[in-house]
Symmetry: none
Subunit: 416 residues, 2 copies
């Protein structure tokens, strides 16, 4: 089965945003065994969009269109599809009802412009969008299937995963399918990861590819074979080998989010956590509180950027800082102990390091970070040198700190 994708949005042509949809949909469709033959990106222009859709529908039976479903005047997709197929736009009562509820709950009137989203091509299947106000749509006409997805990345993913994937599975046949899994690594550079994996002689099928972002390396394992189960088994087998090789550095697989994993484990064990952050400046707590319901296990914490606050708020003895320095194992441990004492939490993190670009000395380079975890009468502390610049060091330290908590909760962390 083949498909084309049309991305709408003048911002794509102007280079204002990067087209992440192309990658997301490309992978998802490949996994479903659907071959994408063409991508087109077109501006928010009715005539241009109409011409492109017409050409595309002459070539393919399955067309996916992203963007242009929002409330503003430059959102033209559903009207254009309707015009092309000679369908009327009709009001969808469920969508109207949902929008009314959202705004009523906040005591706000329904904005005039948003009412546009309530109209859909006659006969369309409406795909509820739990992440936003514009629903996705499936429009069928003869042999042609057109799937319209909202443009904001989180909304596109939500609608794709909750509705479109299962729909496509039913209409797609079976050829060579692809299965990939991504292992997320922190604390090593891309070339360090590559060197380690090359020694393992992972070659051929599955293939390995790397994407580096500051503070993380994503290792993608992709198997290609003519069965979903076999592809998945092959990719998973290689992923397990890699996880064994890089155990300390792997903090997640695929969509697993470290903060959610840590939160679920804390809840399950009835434990609470707090943090004392220096070089990460609040990033660990920001991530912990990204998770809905985190107030059940996260109490709070202190960003002690200055030495005074380390002493005044966390009780790190002045002599410890004077003798060993603010960036030292001793200070990290005193911070972790201090935050547990202050908040009464079961677990406490203490993080101190040199994020750069300033502050490095001949003994203490940029990237040096000490991370301590206090857990009742147990204390763990590890010294790290994170690769990269300021952002890479901070992200590396944040991921590693949360991974230390995860590994502790799973009984994988050992003292000394």
């Amino acid at each position: 089965m083949q498909a084309e994708i049309v991305f709408t949005g003048t911002e794509l042509l102007l280079g204002e945003v990067i087209n992440t949809h192309a990658q997301f949909l490309g992978r998802e469709l490949a996994e479903l065994g659907i071959e994408v033959t063409l991508h087109t990106a077109v501006g928010d222009n009715h005539e241009a969009l109409k011409a492109i859709l017409q050409d595309s529908l002459a070539r393919t039976d399955l067309l996916i269109i992203t963007g242009g479903l929002g409330p503003t005047e430059d959102d033209l997709t559903s009207e254009t599809v309707a015009a092309l197929l000679g369908l009327e736009m009709v009001q969808d009562d469920n969508t109207l009802h949902k929008l009314n509820l959202i705004f009523a709950r906040r005591g706000l009137p329904l904005p005039v412009s948003i009412k546009k989203q309530v109209f859909v091509p006659n006969g369309a299947i409406v795909l509820p969008n739990s992440a936003g106000t514009a629903p996705g749509l499936i429009v069928r006409s003869g042999r042609k299937t057109i799937i319209l997805l909202p443009g904001p990345p989180n909304e596109l993913k939500t609608v794709f995963e909750s509705h479109v994937k299962s729909y496509l599975k039913t209409i797609a046949g079976c050829g060579v399918v692809m299965h990939s899994t991504v292992l997320k690594v922190t604390g090593l550079s891309e070339s360090q990861v590559q060197d380690r994996l090359q020694q393992m002689h992972v070659t051929g099928n599955p293939t390995i590819s790397y994407v580096a972002i500051p503070g993380e390396v994503h290792v993608r394992v992709t198997a290609r074979v003519n069965s979903h189960i076999e592809a998945s088994r092959m990719a998973e087998e290689t992923a397990v080998r890699i996880t064994t090789e890089l155990s300390d550095y792997i903090f997640g697989q695929d969509d697993e989010l470290l903060n959610e994993t840590v939160g679920a484990l804390l809840l399950e064990r009835g434990l609470t956590i707090s943090a004392a952050e220096s070089c990460t400046g609040g990033q660990v707590m920001k991530l912990l509180t990204d998770v809905p319901g985190s107030s059940r296990y996260f109490l709070g914490g202190i960003v002690s950027y200055s030495n005074e606050l380390k002493t005044d708020l966390l009780g790190v003895p002045g002599e410890v800082i004077a003798t060993y320095g603010a960036v030292s194992e001793q200070t990290a441990i005193a911070m972790a102990e201090g935050i547990c004492r202050v908040t009464g939490s079961s677990l406490g993190l203490g993080i101190t390091g040199i994020a750069g670009p300033e502050g490095e000395t001949s003994e203490k380079p940029v990237g040096l970070v000490f991370i301590a975890l206090a857990a009742g009468d147990k204390m763990f502390c590890k010294r790290h040198i994170f690769p990269g610049q300021r952002t890479g060091v901070r992200v590396g330290a944040t991921n590693t700190a949360l991974n230390m908590v995860r590994r502790f909760l799973l009984g994988l962390l050992h003292q000394g």
Copy 2:
């Protein structure tokens, strides 16, 4: 002047790599006053590529093609262009000479496959590639200009910057150029922004377009006219009108980063800052400390997620929380006062609200956030209802809090 871009490479369709060329070329061409009307991405397939190039040349006089210039069998671009225009492939002696030199210097024989790169469509202008082996090409035929660029990002940039940019400047000449500026808005939904701007009757040229990400709406103002200076003046004039209309909600323009602006203003005025965060959970401090050198003005702060920490660490009176609630103007003010007292900073932020999805009551909906700023004997506090879900509310509150500091430092914030 208009152009289309064709990106070649099966890896783009499979989602194996992200198309960064689209963004790079989009920006570069917009600056040169060349309007990109269409992007197409096509796999490494001779027939498909030929059909796409044919369609494209029927619509546009300027076509840019990326990728497919390398030495392997799936590199088809120059042959396909030559076939399409009825041109022979001829040997380019300069390229051959250069390749011979490169390999001789390494003591290696010239690989057989690489000799393919020595052949170019007859009459093409060859653009030396100092970052790799495949040169770029400019092929002219009648009114049509086709520019072929190598696929690896660094090679594409090198060839574009050293040859293509100046070439395009001469042919784009004195046509209509485009200038855009982006205003970043927080605290309003996309439809609320549009409703406000529609009342201003901003229509025609400059045009306005919108991009929404959680917690932010980006308003792009684009002017098109036949002079760089005039385009810039027109866009700026409209931007000023919009900024006046939405003043409280605009937190940045173009590449300006709010945390850097706040940091620079604090440094300039010799002031320090600290923060007491509840619903934002450390995100404000994370953003402040993203900036290198932030330890010169940021002292630290407290994430008081639990009510106990609001009282124990920040001295928010228990009666205040009992009477008005943890999410109230009174609590926000006590938090801002408390953090200034604890850290001794000149400015202190207090942020408390309901990020959701839990915790909402009939009087206090998800999105309700109070932000207080203490500055010596001055106290500012504002009630907000941020649109969106948890992430949108938290990002909205974070941007608004930092914007409150920026506006205070610029003398734009008024009490009451």
